[in-house]
């Protein structure tokens, strides 16, 4: 048995409930009953070497879903597998692929994963087939030669050394890569891969639920380019996809690849009994506004489980928190002695690959008893199944929550997942209404490969790679011909004898990023060591300013480092080891700026606009927070350049009449606006075919002069979501209104006017303001008035605590509207007077003949 079991009792739930005995944190316990394993043989028996290899890995029978996947794959069907975490999804594709590769000496397979780390992990899994007698984790090609499955496989990505690339191109039977590399490195150079593509039998795409929204729309186009190149070299690969649980896996696979899929979703793997506990930290003040820190609650839960021998994982939303909680846990465990403190680690993006591999392996082997991780461990890296998962804060989507909770789940034993609520509006809503979570289906994954903005980039790449026949044009969507005409007008494309050619110098894939996240990465270098400087980690550019600014405390493996210098040219942060008792939390200031108004119209008396919009964010100061007590013990100002997203956006500025109607019902207009801003991403994503996270919203009165709701595309240059919203705003607001009406909640929830995630997700909630879900009734009054519908009469009397604000806001909006309409002059900007030094002031006074002050 590979896993060391040291659990002292099996009553995991009982243990957790004991912890809650005094303060009643366990506000809800949901039981997921156990399930027996169901196995079945495939229609045609497995090949002898395959059966042998599986037996050596301890697998005698296939689960029903695995057998069905093997049958379908052997029939040549395209299929998508959607079963739970740790149900043995990878076998569903590895068996048919490896059998084919062993039988047909020419066959090749391409495996696509959304991250490099997953590709590495899956390469190790493949290696186990080659040498099932060896330990997992072997990645060295030499060590696996000569086994029953002797084939060349390797990862091909940005980390692959140049010297290995040629070898992989020529000899790899299974190539593991990611869509970004396929897009920018492989497809544009396909002639070098002619043999590989000509013999391509399988394309395997794992974790396809990640390919949604903008990333998914780009990836769908990469798929089209891939299949087109394969076809050019005479291959039509079979496609096998795997996905975490989402509402529409088969539809997503079809939209991504253009093929029709069979779905395998009936999970035959066994499950021990599982409990899902909702855990609300107890109140600590009389008014009930403050609660105990969720980080401390998580520590107590985690430490208790580790002490009892339950292997556990904690999921947090911010990278910093992995370190803070690790520190808390290690302090606690160190009190016991016995070295348990060394058996817990943090895991997050920014750790060096080898460090991450080591943690994954130690966790898998059972050597490590617990890990505190960001969602970096949410995707399918195989760390084995754990006894308990503690989710600190709602991860933002139903699908992610189940995915993280799924990390706990033994085949036979009991397991538990615990959602610890932050003292933030949405988390508190879930604590009050746990059934909301259990009754909701996971999110839909939406992709729109035909989005003209995205398509333009990929048509360039496509005609660069292979002239595009006129008959093919419309395979790329109805707008493809018009886009080709645009490219032709711009001198980038020309039709010659019925084929489109790319007619410019350069490499069109270069300017196109598939993701809306920046690709620049900063290196973190430790100085002041005896043996010279050393790279200890990396950090993506948007996080670098808030997390490794000068004087920040950078935490790594619970140790504290002080940042001496952030070199934005070379993209390096220099740090040195400093044993301090605090951590730092940066505060940023972000605002939107309308750069150019392109379209304007009225909807009744309300102003609607669309144009270029910049979203600025600037890290302006940081606080020092003492470990444990969470006291703020100092702060510092920062002079860092601001970061700007140049995009476009649409806005709605309600008329004074509309705003007044809201106050007349005793409601706060700003809350109505925020409620609408929070509901818009969900509604607009359906109209504009994107993912809600691709959209940003804001409420602001500086740009238009009066309060307005803004909606923008979270992608440089914009992708047309906001533009579409401008034209369809009536329909969108009606849909928003229907959605809020139909929501069964009493006074706002994450499905309607509450934002599913706090705006500054990378912040430690221990340090944040609390906020509340905006008033649902205010949003409804406002929407009815905006659309000219009969008045909505709010349920119940207005909230006492809001009445004072209502009067203030009314006065403010009246004045803003008067200025906006030109009836009143804009107020002068406030003066900032820096007093002269006293001696100079006196001299100047004397010179001017003024009396002494």
């Amino acid at each position: 048995m590979k896993r060391r079991r040291t659990r002292e009792s099996t009553d995991l739930l009982g243990r957790i409930l004991t912890l809650a005995a005094e303060d009643g944190q366990a506000v809800h316990v949901h039981e997921i009953p156990p399930r027996e394993a169901r196995t079945a043989p495939p229609r045609r028996p497995l090949s002898d070497p395959m059966r042998e290899a599986l037996l050596q890995m301890g697998i005698a029978d296939l689960y029903t879903h695995q057998a069905r996947a093997v049958d379908l794959a052997r029939d040549g069907r395209d299929l998508v597998i959607v079963t739970g975490t740790a149900s043995g999804k990878t076998l569903c594709y590895n068996i048919p692929v490896l059998e084919t590769i062993a039988q047909h000496k020419d066959a090749r397979a391409l495996y696509l994963f959304p991250t490099k780390a997953l590709a590495q992990d899956q390469l190790r899994t493949l290696r186990r087939f080659q040498r099932p007698d060896l330990d997992a984790g072997v990645i060295d090609e030499e060590a696996v030669a000569g086994g029953p499955f002797d084939f060349h496989a390797g990862t091909y990505d940005g980390d692959t050394p140049q010297t290995l690339r040629t070898n992989l191109r020529e000899h790899a039977r299974i190539l593991l890569t990611n869509p970004d590399m396929l897009h920018s490195g492989i497809l544009p150079n396909h002639a070098r891969w002619a043999e590989f593509f000509g013999r391509l039998s399988f394309v395997v795409a794992d974790e396809i639920h990640v390919y949604r929204g903008i990333f998914g729309s780009h990836t769908a186009n990469v798929f089209r380019r891939l299949l087109r190149i394969a076809e050019h070299y005479g291959a039509r690969p079979q496609i096998i996809c795997a996905s975490a649980t989402i509402a529409n896996p088969a539809e997503l696979a079809q939209r991504l690849t253009g093929r029709v899929f069979d779905t395998v979703e009936e999970d035959g793997s066994p499950r021990g009994r599982k409990h899902f506990v909702f855990w609300n930290p107890p109140r600590i003040d009389r008014a009930g506004l403050e609660r105990r820190s969720s980080n401390i609650e998580a520590r107590d839960l985690f430490v208790s489980m580790i002490r009892s021998g339950f292997q556990s994982i904690v999921f947090v939303r911010a990278r910093l928190l992995t370190e803070v909680i690790l520190r808390y846990c290690q302090e606690e465990l160190a009190k016991d002695g016995g070295g348990l403190a060394k058996k817990v680690r943090a895991y997050r993006g920014g750790y060096l690959p080898e460090e991450r591999r080591a943690i994954e392996k130690a966790l898998f082997d059972g050597e490590l008893r617990g890990v505190i991780s960001t969602n970096a461990l949410e995707l399918g890296i195989d760390v084995g199944s754990l006894d308990a998962a503690v989710l600190v804060g709602f991860p933002g989507t139903i699908a992610s929550t189940w995915q993280q909770a799924g990390r706990a789940g033994r085949r036979e034993d009991e397991s538990v997942a615990i959602l610890v609520g932050h003292n933030l509006p949405i988390d508190q809503y879930l604590m009050r209404h746990p059934n909301y979570f259990f009754e909701r289906t996971p999110e839909h994954a939406v992709v729109d490969p035909e989005n003209p903005h995205i398509l333009l980039s990929h048509l360039r790449c496509a005609i660069y790679e292979l002239p595009l026949k006129r008959q093919e044009e419309r395979d790329w969507g109805e707008y493809a011909p018009a886009i080709l005409d645009l490219l032709s007008e711009h001198g980038e494309a020309k039709e010659v004898k019925g084929r489109w050619y790319y007619t410019k110098d350069g490499y069109p894939a270069h300017g196109v990023s598939l993701r809306n996240t920046a690709e620049n990465v900063y290196t973190i270098v430790e100085t002041g060591r005896g043996d010279g400087n050393r790279v200890i980690g990396t950090i993506d550019e948007p996080s670098a300013f808030p997390q490794v600014h000068p004087q920040a405390i950078y935490m790594h493996d619970a140790e504290t480092f002080l940042v001496d210098k952030l070199d934005t040219q070379e993209k390096v942060a220099y740090v040195h080891r400093a044993d301090v008792d605090y951590y730092t939390q940066a505060m940023s200031d972000s605002h939107i700026e309308v750069v150019r108004t392109e379209l304007e119209r009225r909807m009744l008396e309300n102003e609607i606009g669309f144009g270029d919009l910049n979203v600025h964010s600037k890290v302006c100061m940081f606080k020092k927070i003492k470990f444990g007590s969470r006291d703020s013990i100092g702060y510092g100002n920062l002079e860092l350049p601001s970061q700007t997203l140049e995009t476009n956006g649409a806005w709605i500025a309600p008329s004074l009449e509309v705003l007044t109607k809201v106050t007349r019902y005793g409601r706060v207009p700003a809350e109505g606006l925020w409620g609408i801003a929070n509901v818009l991403p969900d509604v607009v994503s359906l109209f504009a075919m994107c993912d809600p996270v691709d959209l940003g919203t804001a409420v602001d009165s500086k740009n238009v002069g009066v309060p307005a709701v803004f909606l923008y595309d979270k992608y440089p240059g914009g992708l047309g979501f906001a533009q579409k919203s401008y034209h369809m705003i009536e329909a969108i607001l009606e849909a928003a209104c229907d959605l809020i009406h139909a929501c069964p909640c009493d006074d706002g929830c994450p499905s309607c006017v509450g934002a599913p995630l706090p705006a500054q997700m990378q912040q430690d909630p221990d340090v944040m303001g609390k906020g509340r879900i905006p008033d649902k009734e205010a949003a409804l009054v406002m929407l009815h008035a905006l659309l000219g519908m009969p008045d909505y009469v709010p349920k119940g009397p207005p909230d006492e605590s809001r009445l004072e604000r209502v009067a203030k806001e009314q006065a403010k909006v009246v004045r803003q509207h008067a200025i906006h309409a030109g009836e009143e002059e804009a107020p002068l900007p406030p003066r900032v007077v820096t007093p002269l030094p006293a001696d100079i002031a006196e001299r100047l006074r004397r010179r001017l003949g003024l009396r002494k002050s």
Partner: protein
Amino acid sequence: MERWLKERFPHARWETPGDGLGVLSQRVRLPGRGPALPQSHLFLDLETLGFVGRPLFLVGLLRGTSGREGEIIQILARDYAEEEEALRFFSERFAPTPTWVTFNGKSFDVPCMHLRCAFYRMPKPRPAEHVDLLHIARRHFRGVFPDCRLKTLEMRVCGRSRRDDMDGAEVPSAYHRYIRDNDPEWIEPILRHNRDDLVTLAELFLTLREMEES
């Protein structure tokens, strides 16, 4: 195009076999006196749309006829779609010449041609022997000249330089313009540039062979 070519290259012959590509042939004589051009050798220089793997559109060839006289044959894809036919024409008519002589052809011209053949799923032409002058020139001139580019060698070894020669980096965009505007004016400097490269290549070959032998 034909009339225009007659005007610009009055001594050249222009053919369009099967109307699938253009072939411009002209006689040349290497400047000065010296050894004769070997007839078993084919001097080769490609013009392409950029780095290795991008389409090629001109296969420039020089082969000896008698003494220091020879024939330059330029196989031109008159648009992007003619590349395949140009490759085929080269493979059938010229590729069987036993020895190819190139400048940096081991890293550029030949891999380039092979990748394009892979693209069209055609057999890849290979010479019995391939002499890459860049490698020989480096052996003799490294440290002697500031670099071993063809331009430098032309000046230092052949003792001449070109006036208003097209920069190699401008070649792809000039070809794109030629197609886009359907204007042969854009192709002329490329044809001249390629022709001059071939002459220098042949001359350099003779000089380096003498140096090798001595």
